[in-house]
Amino acid sequence: MDFPSSLRPALFMTGPLGLSDVPDTSFMCSWRDALTLPESLPQNSENGAPHLAKGLLWEPDTPGPLPLLPPGPDPWDPGLTAQDLLFRGGPKFRRQPQAVLDVTEQVSGPAVDSAVWLELCLMARCPLLPQFSRFLWDHGDIAFSSLGKLMLENFNLEGPRSYSKKKTVVSVKRILEDLGGHQPWGCPWAYFSHRQRRFSILGDPILGKSVSSLLGELLYEELATRWEQLLLDDAFTGGALAWLPGRTPQVRQLVYPAGGALDKLCFQEVRLTPGSDPRILGKPGHIQLRGPVRQVVTCTVQGECKTVNYFPPLLPEPDPDPDLHLLHPSSALLAVRSDYHCALWKVSRQGRPVPLQVLKVEKGATGINLSPHLPGELVVCSRSGAVCLWTPHDGLRQIYKDPETLVFRDPSPWRWADFTAHPRVLTVGDRTGVKIIDTQGPPGCGLLLFRVGAEASCQKGERVLLTQYLGECGPDSLQPTLHLICTQFSLYLMDERLPLVPMLKWDHNLPSAPLLAQLLPPPRPGCARPLLLGGQGGQLQLLHITGEGASTPRLAGHPQSLPSRSDSLSAFPLLEPRSHWQLQERLQAPTIGLAATILPSSSSPVLSLFQLSTAGDVFHQCLHLREDLGPPSDPRPNCCAPTASWSPQATACCRRWLKALLKVPPAPPVWAAPTFSHRHLLGFKEQQKVEGKVPEGLRAAMAQGRLLQQRDLGSLPTTEPPPGPTPGPTDELSERLEAAWEGPVTAWWEQQRDRTSRPGRQLKRPKRRTQLSNTFSSLSSRLDLSGATSAPHSPDWTSPVSRPRSPVALPSQELTQDLWAQGIPSERQQTLRDYMAKLPLQGNTPEGSSTSLSQISSTQATPSTQRTLRDCAAELSSHRDTPGGATLPSSQTSSIWATPSRQQVRILSGSQPHRKKPRMGF
């Protein structure tokens, strides 16, 4: 192997950062890197230095990647965001941080490293206080059970009376009596039990402090982990998307995890042709695993695998899927890392993956890699700091173990290992550095290949996030001794023959952690090799690296960014806000896998790029290479790259995908904003004598927790027609509105109808931001009365008088008063109420119950119809009764409330005349 005959000049400083005042001579300009020092004098000074292909650019065919596969059937939840975890208050909170909850006092001190943690801590103190006390209320058994056991001897749980002379024993029976409002002397405040007093004295220091401080600590820990995970989730380091050879060179297989928990390993055949988009062949075969897939590695070594002895399959057999024919000329090995398991398959001529062995990693596996030299050899690393060489033949062999990090102390248990140009030498990495170790040598010894410090001119707080062996020997490739090392700031290329001195350094400036990388073969002989770098947030960068033979690796041209999945948003049709948000969240899901190939083409090479997101979506993009080999002084006519645009096929593809996506039921919310019961207001108001129909209706609706509608209130004397647009001879606005509604809303409407046809799928709790769309859906549901009789009623809301309820299980039905009060400005409430009142009348219109929303909006917009409607409303309002809400409150509700109030409610509701509800079409 050739070693570069002359390396680029570089200062070499050892030791940690900041000790020596030495300039960073790696200036971080891509152009500077392109400049090599001439060996001797450039003879003809005009073009002495080789002109590099400056205009090396991969042009995307579409502005963003397109979905390759339909979305999975499982709902996907984006998880926590910074908004959920962080609290940024005004300076007021900062000045007095210790005010609120002493729970976190012990936490705030030594364990806090940076101000961010302090901030988390603040958050735990202030806004979480109500949640915390609520937790103590709701899960008292969890919070207090162990304490209860500890204090058992101080309580007398049974028996009428303990005659113990010890004053430290409390009779529980009496305490419960006291607490239950047992008032032997009539007046609740006259008697304060000495037992209660004793109990408070005994229990206060323990119950009041230790429980909350213990729980507070745990809570803080949990929050800190979540926040750390949000900033950097290293579970998917390396990526979970890979290629397997297919039947023919054009047909390949993508291996990726799918399913809500990413525990289904899928094999999808894809036909790649340079001229067109990749075609999916058949349905994917899959293997169900028992844990989430974190990393997928494939490797074909020597075109075959060693014949491996039979090992009992520890994993469930793959599905007998007839589509899974993995016929290909050669076999490959497939290694999968889950949180606590690693598994190895052989994908052979037989066409089905054969499980070879499964490995359990007690402390959790952090990385797995397949040897590029020896078939069936793997390296696995665990959180405990152990690195093992693993062959199905010989089992595990621990080659390195160090719970401490390499260079300096870092708390992260992340470890990584990869192979080198020597089959018996491995690299072992952690956050602080990368070491080369000889598996045949004495344990523990090795040579540092990279260290976070002055050697590589690292920045403060820089850590290794990914290391990868880029080796691949070929006549036209880079040195087979190169290793890629990515940190949060930069990318380094290291040659294992010259440790500690980076051959190349580039500031990638990615706004998320670069956990994915792939070096691709040169698109054509003599061309620079593309190196793909993928950030967790979906950002992609492509670097061109040259340096064959005896020259140092360097960047050829400026790196370029590739479109990310969120750039595809423009290809999708316009949506109502809620679906739009859902789509946006889905497109912004973290990228967890990257697979690319270069397809040789007669005109220009095509880069086919696949990416996998945590939601399980596989997106695809094609890019064409454009080369400008002109000398730098030549003004090029097309200095700005022509922007790609969406083709009709692409938008159609997106539309189809979106349709499937919207059919997927949304994930049940992990957390919803706490709602406040309105019922105590009800009780509070009970004493006052209620007069008039309006308050009565209001009261009834409140008691039931039901939506207040105009018909509940009877005819309101103050009813004003909603301030609509003044009707003119040609109403431009309504025309435009009509047009707007007819277009993009159709998709939404269809989705609504789909949902209607599937009863029983309920949204548990609406989110605030969906209120508006809920309003609309409530409107549509009221119109769709055809299936009303068969509507499933949720027990809470059932009323004896069958109110025509829509079968659409919509959150709007649970739209409670507080939403009325909070979400909608008061001046608009009236308008909305008027709308509500009017809408049932749509049954009178000739279109009847099948009127679509767009039609309604158009009819309403025309002034004449509006007039009629209003008249009808006036006529009919007298006939309308209070709704079924004016009946007994549900048993659930009543049980909570004290007897007198309930009685009163009954009386109140009973005083309402029961009338038959108007059925459909009145």
Partner: protein, 448 residues
């Protein structure tokens, strides 16, 4: 930016003793932290408009650069210059460097930019942030060098060389040394040009003496330029190479040897294989004794066992009188073939086959056995699998033949590779094969 979030983003501020005292947290700095924090609405003060526009502009420029839209980047760059007037002193100080990085990048790639534009920009930037004068000068020189403007580059370096600002810090000193070394390199270029001219001239020519005089004066200047930097730890391959060439030309062998020895053996320097290669080549030119050469290559062998000089090393060792050396010769060959990149090196296999035969003839099978012990677990799969047998036979018959012989010796005639190759019927090689089989039968270290 509100002082509140500033605290959040600069965790290790001096007024935060709790945060600084214990490093139990990860200590990792994440550039995307700010983005996450800013996604949370704040009730406090908002970031100033100025800071907002500047950071937005920066991201636009970076985006345009990554999309190779040089014109767009240049337009945004125009507005980005406002960052020089940032009220935040930390940002203001970092601004010139940022502007230089982005600006030079744009000007390097922009189709309409010229050397003049770049020069003007560089000269302006040198004086805006005085702290960056030397760094910018160096990069400017590289740019000029790349465009073949040696004189301009030299002038530029001369200016930088005399530049001083404030107290002379170690950082400044290192940079000045670097500037001087580059100047020396430029002088070397002129020198080697003259040397070439001189070699074309007749010695009796009148021009010859003036030219040689010129060269002598150059040499004297250059040695001063190089010597300071070469003492500093680092990778100085081009400088050392040219320096040594000049020293050798003027007969200063001792000086050259000292430079090279220091470059190769100084502990503070990184273990640069080239340093040993240069020393070896120098000693070879000097016709140094074999012992000396072996000792240099021994160190290279420890650093890079896959280096192409290793075959030369093997030849040296093979010829050596010491048994120890001959034994090392075998180790070196095995070591070369351990590497994936050398697996198809016919010469190495040829050497190994020949040497194995030689060693077995001299009856040292223990040497082979010892080398083989650590490799017998993986060489069969790595080198002698049936896949390689087929592919080697198809691609390179000579390689297949040598490998088959080695396989036969090491693994016995039952080995897959040997069997496959020996079964191939090839007229030309038939005789050779016969001999190979005989030898294997006779010498194989595997007991039948």
């Amino acid at each position: 930016m509100s002082d509140f979030s500033e605290d959040l983003l600069r965790p290790t501020k001096e007024d935060d003793p709790a945060g600084r005292s214990v490093r139990s947290g990860s200590g990792m700095r994440l550039p995307w932290l700010q983005k996450h924090v800013e996604s949370v609405p704040t009730r406090g003060k908002k970031e100033k408009d100025f800071a907002q526009t500047t950071s937005a502009c920066l991201s636009f420029i970076q985006d345009a650069l990554l999309k190779h839209q040089w014109q767009r980047a240049a337009e945004y760059m125009h507005s980005y210059l406002q960052t020089l007037e940032d009220s935040d002193s930390q940002k203001r100080q970092a601004a010139p460097e940022m502007i230089w990085k982005l600006g030079s990048e744009i000007l390097y790639y922009h189709p309409k930019s010229s050397v003049e534009t770049f020069n003007a920009f560089a000269d302006r930037m040198k004086n805006i942030g005085v702290m960056n004068y030397l760094t910018i000068s160096l990069q400017h020189t590289l740019y000029l060098l790349h465009h073949g403007l040696l004189d301009d580059a030299s002038r530029n370096l001369s200016q930088a060389e005399t530049w001083r600002y404030g107290e002379k810090s170690s950082s400044q000193e290192a940079l000045i040394n670097l500037v001087q070394a580059y100047k020396g390199l430029l002088q070397y270029y002129t020198w080697s040009k003259k040397k070439k001219e001189l070699s074309e001239l007749d010695e009796d020519d009148y021009a010859y003496s003036t030219a040689s005089q010129n060269m002598f004066s150059h040499s004297w200047k250059t040695s001063i330029n190089f010597s300071a930097l070469i003492q500093t730890p680092g990778v100085w391959d081009p400088f050392v190479k040219s320096y040594v060439e000049m020293l050798e030309f003027y007969g200063d062998q001792d000086g050259a040897r000292e430079v090279l020895t220091n470059y190769a053996y100084d502990e503070k320097f990184p273990s640069n294989p080239n340093a040993h290669v240069y020393l070896y080549n120098f000693l070879k030119r000097e016709k140094a004794p074999r012992e000396k050469l072996i000792s240099v290559l021994k160190i290279l062998y420890q650093i890079v066992p896959s280096h192409k000089l290793m075959l030369e090393f093997h030849r040296l060792l093979r010829k050596s009188d010491q048994e120890e050396h001959r034994r090392l010769g075998l180790e070196v060959l095995f070591g070369v073939l351990d590497f994936a990149g050398c697996a198809k090196n016919v010469t190495a296999w040829q050497c190994l086959a020949k040497y194995l035969r030689q060693i077995l003839m001299r009856s040292h099978p223990a040497w082979i056995q010892e080398e083989w012990n650590s490799r017998k677990s993986w060489w069969p799969g790595f080198h002698f699998s049936s896949f390689w047998a087929k592919s080697d036979w198809k691609e390179d018959r000579a390689l297949a033949y040598e490998k088959a012989f080695v396989a036969g010796i090491l693994l016995g005639k039952g080995c897959k590779y040997f069997r496959y190759i020996s079964k191939q019927d090839h007229q030309v090689l038939r005789k050779k094969f016969k001999r190979m089989k005989k030898l294997v039968k006779k010498h194989s270290i595997v007991n039948p």
